[in-house]
């Protein structure tokens, strides 16, 4: 039986299995959304790996039920603290994440001066020092297409919205989540 695979099949599968976001309007994104390809890839990843393909209007990605995975938690913690500090500064975090340029100096200022989340920053290896933050941004997040590097600056791609949507979801299940961790003060 000869199966006809969509164009860029290898790149699509490799990117997604590497934990990357595929972004609109790239050729990989367009290919996945062409004709019946969306259904094909949804089934393909479900049947082959038991992963769920999530298709949004600006990006697509895979998720699994693997609770050992730490990267998304690190990124969520990073973006949450960053948003909080931007808001504290009196700026609109939503607009800043969507279109502003960041650099390591600015990021370090937010994290080094964050009194509210000092304990969490200290306890999270991936964001506790300027070096670890640099690695999280320019290795982990860059490789996964969550940021785009522009010279010495970087910008968040639309993929960062996954983490904002997750935060929004949390408010809906607020009551269901039973905490065992001590509360932080603002």
């Amino acid at each position: 039986m000869k199966i006809e695979y969509p164009k860029y099949h290898y790149d699509i599968v490799k990117s997604l299995l590497d934990g990357k976001f595929i972004l609109f309007p790239g050729k990989l994104y367009k290919t996945v959304l062409e004709g019946e390809n969306k259904e094909f890839y949804t089934d393909f990843f479900k049947e082959s790996f038991d992963y769920e393909l999530i298709v949004e209007t600006e990006y697509l990605y895979l998720i699994s039920d693997n609770t050992d995975e730490k990267t998304s938690r690190d990124i969520m913690t990073f973006i949450s603290i960053l948003s909080y500090e931007i808001d504290k500064e009196g700026k609109n975090f939503f607009d800043e994440l969507n279109s502003s340029f960041f650099n390591l100096e600015r990021i370090n200022q937010y994290f080094d001066n964050s009194h509210s989340w000092h304990e969490i920053i200290k306890a999270s290896k991936q964001i506790s020092s300027p070096e670890s933050r640099k690695s999280l941004i320019y290795n982990t997040m860059l490789k996964r297409n969550i940021i785009e590097r522009i010279g010495d600056n970087f910008q968040f791609t639309k993929a960062h919205k996954v983490f904002l949507n997750f935060a929004l979801e949390l408010t809906k299940i607020d009551d269901k989540v039973k905490s065992t961790y001590p509360q932080q003060s603002l």
Partner: protein, 401 residues
């Protein structure tokens, strides 16, 4: 009764505009102006003008506080374009009065001419007032929403969610219900019915004066319907999305606060479905053969060194490459290369050492053979050196090419 000349009052307002503006802003914020604030502001301007403020009826006493009188308050609202949003209930009263006047006009259309004219004029005025209130409200709600978005008052996200929800629930949605062109009971549809009736009467009513009055009302209604559509569009396309976005943004911050403060960042079983971690490539590499060679090469001596000890009690074993290669080729196919080497070397030299063993392994580098990896490993023990090696099972066949 005001004794002063109108020009004197207007000149006073012009001269003390800054003070009056401050009083207006204070009242907009707190509904009243407190005693101390008024005295401080008067003191700042350096002239005692309190008496004139009362004489021209610009302010009035309310218990121990003051208030700008309605007419001046409205004037300042208008010239500063800072309207306080009205509750929809305050706007809805115009809907009621417009409806009542229309019913009366219809019921008494053949009766007294003068009351009919009065009612048509009143209806026109009520429609004007209603439109003016709707426009002012939409514009002030837009200003307030934009201020909230820019966080001019520097309030926290919880307060922002509260304010955004408040504006939506008590002001924007009810106002939209009043003017919504798709709602059959909205003012838009009431005005449409009045417009149809008025259109008919302006053409065929027997009295010319009244026809002209209906003509004027009809023209006002035409403009009113256009204005309401515009205001409804501002509400639906701009104001509601803007305020919903403010609400959403701040709900996101609330969720992030929840994530950080309730330890979800730390807990193993967070409710989040996980993004896929980098896929680990466990497929067998096609360069295993080269890797195996490299592995053994590190044990290979660059040169064979033979030491003749005259006193040794065993026979020297010298690796005769040609002999062993010939034997290997004769034995092909060999199912397990390392096992075969072990047998060969033992048959000649039972007391072999690791170095001798690896010398034999160098047969792998000979041409004319194919090596196949069997996907399993086994252990080899060389007793003389107390060496234990883990080696792959390799099948050797003749190279037909």
């Amino acid at each position: 009764m005001i004794k002063a000349e109108p020009k004197t009052i207007l000149s006073f307002i012009h001269q003390h505009y800054d003070l009056l503006k401050e009083l207006f802003l204070a009242q907009s914020k707190n509904n009243t102006i407190d005693y101390e604030f008024l005295n401080n502001e008067i003191e700042k301007c350096g002239v005692e003008i309190k008496n004139q403020l009362f004489e021209y009826q610009i302010i009035k006493n309310i218990n121990d506080e003051y208030q700008i009188t309605d007419v001046y308050y409205n004037l300042f609202e208008f010239i500063l374009q800072q309207f306080k949003p009205l509750l929809p209930e305050e706007i809805e009263k115009y809907v009621q009065s417009i409806t009542n006047l229309f019913i009366k006009i219809k019921e008494d259309i053949g009766k007294d001419k003068n009351i009919l004219i009065e009612r048509i004029d009143s209806l026109t005025n009520e429609i004007d007032k209603f439109l003016s209130q709707v426009k002012n409200n939409t514009s002030s709600l837009l200003v307030k929403s934009r201020d909230l978005k820019a966080n001019i008052d520097n309030i926290d996200y919880q307060e922002k969610i509260h304010k955004a929800s408040f504006w939506i629930e008590y002001y924007i949605i009810p106002l939209n219900n009043i003017i919504d062109i798709h709602n059959s009971e909205s003012i838009y549809n009431i005005l449409l019915i009045i417009s149809e009736y008025t259109n008919e009467k302006r053409l065929n009513f027997h009295d010319e004066n009244i026809r002209l009055k209906f003509e004027r009302l009809y023209n006002r209604l035409k403009q009113a319907l256009i204005d309401i559509r515009q205001q409804s569009e501002i509400l639906v396309n701009e104001l509601i999305p803007l305020i919903e976005r403010i609400k959403t943004e701040n709900l996101i911050l609330k969720g992030m606060h929840h994530y950080l403060s309730k330890g979800l960042w730390y807990k193993k079983n967070s409710p989040q479905k996980e993004l896929l971690q980098k896929f680990r490539d466990n497929v067998l590499s096609n360069d295993f053969e080269l890797s195996t060679k490299e592995y053994f090469e590190q044990f290979q001596l660059e040169e064979n060194v033979f030491i003749n000890d005259e006193n040794h009690s065993f026979e020297d074993w010298i690796f005769d490459k040609f002999k062993y290669k010939e034997r290997m080729v004769e034995s092909l196919p060999i199912q397990n290369f390392f096992e075969w080497i072990m047998t060969e070397i033992k048959s000649e030299n039972a007391d072999f050492n690791t170095s001798q063993y690896f010398t034999m392994v160098s047969l792998l580098f000979e041409k004319d053979i194919n090596i196949e990896y069997q996907k399993q490993y086994e252990k080899v023990i060389i007793e003389k050196d107390n060496t234990e090696l883990t080696i792959p099972v390799l099948k050797i066949t003749k190279d037909e090419d």
